[in-house]
């Protein structure tokens, strides 16, 4: 039992003084936290952009311009259309292709373009949902990982006391403080992940509803045209 003269309890000494399993837990949690924040920012930017794209596309779609022109404008761009635009592109491409073969029934044409739109919609939704399971996992599991590190550290701190007849707080306190750093990191990783997951899940839900209603409306328009 050595007690340092200067009561050195800085965060670095706490981490450096922890036992190996606790340090391992801290490392895992730090990496997890970095990745989860990275994904949070990626999702934040991509979802924001998907919402803005959907807004722009709906505006240009409902202004009542020529659908052929809109389609050409989308495919001419260097960038592959995303979100609502890609659904429109898939549906309209299928419709135009069937339209050229004039012998097809209207219902078949509609069915084909609907299927194409459904496929594009699924791909878009898959992109929107990306990384959300990771955030959910981090949110639910990292507190437990941190808790594991803490329990381990506290176990060690108390095991060291077994040789001492009379325990003082100063003999346990450093060990417990070290161990609690693991919980702190776990919570720091978990709380933003949970908040972000809930926010992004609701954003994705709202976007998917928007896409689906667009698909229905666009099908109606195509049916009227044919």
């Amino acid at each position: 039992m050595t007690v340092s003269v200067a009561n050195d309890m800085s965060i670095f000494s706490l981490v450096a003084g922890a036992s190996l399993p606790v340090q391992l837990v801290m490392l895992i949690l730090m990496i997890t936290s970095l990745f989860s924040w990275w994904y949070i920012f990626i999702k934040f930017f991509t979802i924001k952009r998907a919402e803005a794209d959907a807004e722009n596309f709906e505006n240009s779609f409902w202004t009542g311009g020529d659908l052929n022109k809109l389609y050409e404008g989308l495919t001419a761009g260097r960038r592959k259309p995303q979100g609502m635009a890609s659904i429109f592109e898939a549906g309209f491409k299928e419709y135009a292709r069937h339209k050229q073969q004039s012998r097809m029934e209207v219902s078949d044409v509609m069915e084909g373009s609907r299927r194409a739109m459904r496929a594009a919609y699924n791909r878009e939704l898959d992109d929107l949902d990306a990384h959300l399971p990771f955030l959910a996992s981090v949110g639910s599991v990292s507190p437990y990982i941190g808790l594991f590190g803490t329990v381990w550290g506290i176990m060690n701190a108390f095991r060291g006391l077994s040789t001492v007849a009379q325990a003082t707080l100063s003999q346990v306190a450093p060990g417990i403080a070290e161990a609690l750093v693991a919980t702190a990191i776990g919570l720091f990783a978990a709380i933003p992940a949970v908040v972000a997951y809930n926010r992004f899940a609701s954003s994705v839900d709202r976007l998917s509803v928007r896409y689906e209603s667009f698909m229905e409306e666009f099908t109606n328009i195509l049916q009227r045209k044919s």
Binding site: V5, F41, A130, V164, S170
Partner: protein
């Protein structure tokens, strides 16, 4: 890991993620430093000053006064004891000749005389001791007023007086009966107390880096709390600084490095060691 369409924001997101973590680390560092930089010593110094003269100077005087009183009791006992021995002798062999009985009576008388002598001697001793104690007390109070390094000398004198008393008590125990065991134990306890006090001082002194204390003969005082295992509870408190911070710290480190401190094996004596006030002269 990431989708193709996410690549354009991945660097931005990565930078932001690292920024968030750096911000957290910075916050932690600031808050932890703020907590660690508590100078406690300066605050407690004043408080502890006035507790010292009371506890170091006043306790010794009452001790010697009590002990002589205990010593007066024993002499009468042996007198009661003396008539007893002949009885078993009479019972066991009734055919003892008169010469032997007379011899016994003579011996008895001699014993009584001896006892009286011892008593007288004890009374004299007592008077002498009280005189000595009075002198010591007066000296102590006088020295206390001066309140300097002289205090140690007066302490020493008081301790010497105590030791003499203890030795006399020990000698008395041999002549008188086992009634004195109690006072004798107290006397040996006091001896053990002194012995372990010296041991603790010696152990700590051995660990002091004397080069840090420079020239001269600085004196410092430390208050330490001890656990029954010999470990220090909390941290040693500097009561009187040597004026040299490096020296103070050297002694403090030495105290901590000396754990566990030697303690008497008798747990009943531990209460005397719970709070120790130690004086150091590293250059002695």
């Amino acid at each position: 890991m990431i989708r193709a369409y996410e690549k354009e924001v991945s660097w931005k997101a990565g930078g932001l993620a690292i920024a968030v973590h750096l911000a957290l680390l910075g916050g932690l560092l600031i808050s932890f430093n703020w907590k660690a930089a508590h100078p406690v010593l300066n605050v407690t110094e004043v408080e502890l000053w006035d507790s010292i003269p009371n506890s170091t100077v006043t306790p010794p005087p009452p001790l010697p006064v009590v002990e002589p009183e205990v010593k007066v009791e024993p002499p009468p006992k042996p007198i009661e004891k003396v008539p007893e021995p002949p009885k078993p002798v009479e019972r066991e062999d009734p055919k003892v000749d008169i010469a032997l009985e007379r011899k016994k009576e003579l011996e008895q008388k001699q014993k009584v005389i001896e006892q009286k002598k011892v008593e007288e001697k004890l009374k004299k001793d007592k008077a002498l001791e009280q005189k000595k104690q009075l002198a010591a007390l007066q000296e102590e109070t006088r020295k206390d007023e001066m309140r300097d390094s002289d205090k140690q000398i007066s302490d020493k004198k008081a301790k010497d007086a105590l030791k003499k008393l203890q030795q006399e008590a020990l000698a008395d125990e041999k002549t008188a009966g086992d009634q004195q065991a109690l006072s004798a134990k107290a006397a040996t306890n006091a001896g053990v107390l002194d012995e372990f006090r010296n041991k603790i001082q010696a152990k700590i002194r051995g660990n002091v880096n004397k080069t840090l204390c420079g020239e001269g003969n600085p004196e410092l005082k430390f208050d330490i709390g001890l656990l029954p295992t010999g470990e220090i509870s909390g941290s040693p408190k500097l009561v009187k600084s040597s004026g040299n911070e490096a020296c103070d710290e050297a002694v403090e480190r030495a105290i901590i490095a000396s754990q566990p401190l030697p303690l008497p094996s008798d747990p009943s004596l531990f209460s005397q060691f719970r709070n120790l006030k130690l004086k150091f002269r590293p250059n002695d």
